[in-house]
């Protein structure tokens, strides 16, 4: 079979890398900007149904309002709350009931939960 050769012989061309590098850099910048490197921080909450039938010992009802905290109806400070609760708890993981009045916001409740967690009291149930 005859071979035809039209024009000068072409050398095998290597495709240019530049456009690909451009696209890859664009993708890189996009993902660098869009990525969230820090994970969310969370606070565990206990659904009230988990606490049914488990409650034992003296009443431990903490009431949160904008005016301050009450433990079983008596005013208590935020810093004094864990110490005031410990004598009322039969066990370290006993449930404490936290009740918010109409004026309290979520931030105030979270502050109390934080303070209790620092005092080693983690089983706090939010009641309606």
């Amino acid at each position: 079979m005859a071979e035809f050769a039209f024009g000068p012989e072409r050398r095998a061309r290597r495709p240019s890398l530049t456009p690909m590098v451009d696209v890859v850099f664009l993708l890189l910048v996009f993902f660098m900007l869009a990525a969230r490197t820090s994970a969310d921080r969370t606070l565990p909450l206990i659904p009230p149904s988990d606490a049914e039938g488990v409650y034992a010992g003296a009443p431990r009802i903490v009431t949160v309002s904008v005016t301050g905290l009450m433990l079983n109806g008596a005013a208590v400070t935020l810093d004094g709350l864990p110490a005031a609760l410990v004598p009322l708890m039969p066990a370290r993981n006993s449930i404490v009931v936290l009740q918010a009045d109409d004026t309290a916001s979520l931030q105030e409740v979270v502050l109390v939960l934080d303070r209790l967690a620092e005092g080693g009291i983690g089983s706090v149930v939010l009641a309606e």
Partner: protein
């Protein structure tokens, strides 16, 4: 005197290591990125010292006025959607100004539809 050996064209192979590194970085960011579901309304989480990581990406959004959103569903229908999804863990992203009474009611409803573990997203205080 001419010491050149005729290779006057810039050597293109020096680009290849750079491309390798860039591809590595690209793959790293692709894998490390978390696909985030954006809240349908503005939410500023409460400040807290808690540091626990989230257990699940399934998020129930609660606005400052108590508006609920879960996936595409909004309003009280979210609890039906949660019940149908069969989830037992939930992440709450609630506004710090939300009345605390409301969150207690929402926790109770979540417990009723089969959620056993709930975590609230917080910000570093």
């Amino acid at each position: 005197m001419d010491f050149s050996d005729g290779r006057t064209r810039r050597d293109r192979s020096s680009v290849v290591p750079m491309i390798n590194i860039v591809f590595l970085l690209l793959i790293f960011f692709l894998l490390s990125a978390t696909v985030e579901t954006l809240p349908p309304f503005e939410i500023s989480p409460p400040e807290s010292r808690a540091e626990a990581p989230p257990e699940t990406p399934d998020t129930l959004f609660i606005g400052a006025d108590g508006t609920l959103a879960f996936g595409e569903v909004q309003g009280d229908a979210v609890f039906d959607a949660i019940a149908q999804s069969g989830l037992d863990r939930l992440l709450l992203r609630a506004d710090r100004e939300l009345p605390a009474r409301r969150i207690a009611a929402i926790l109770a409803r979540c417990g009723e539809v089969g959620i056993a573990s709930i975590r609230l997203v917080v910000e570093r205080g």
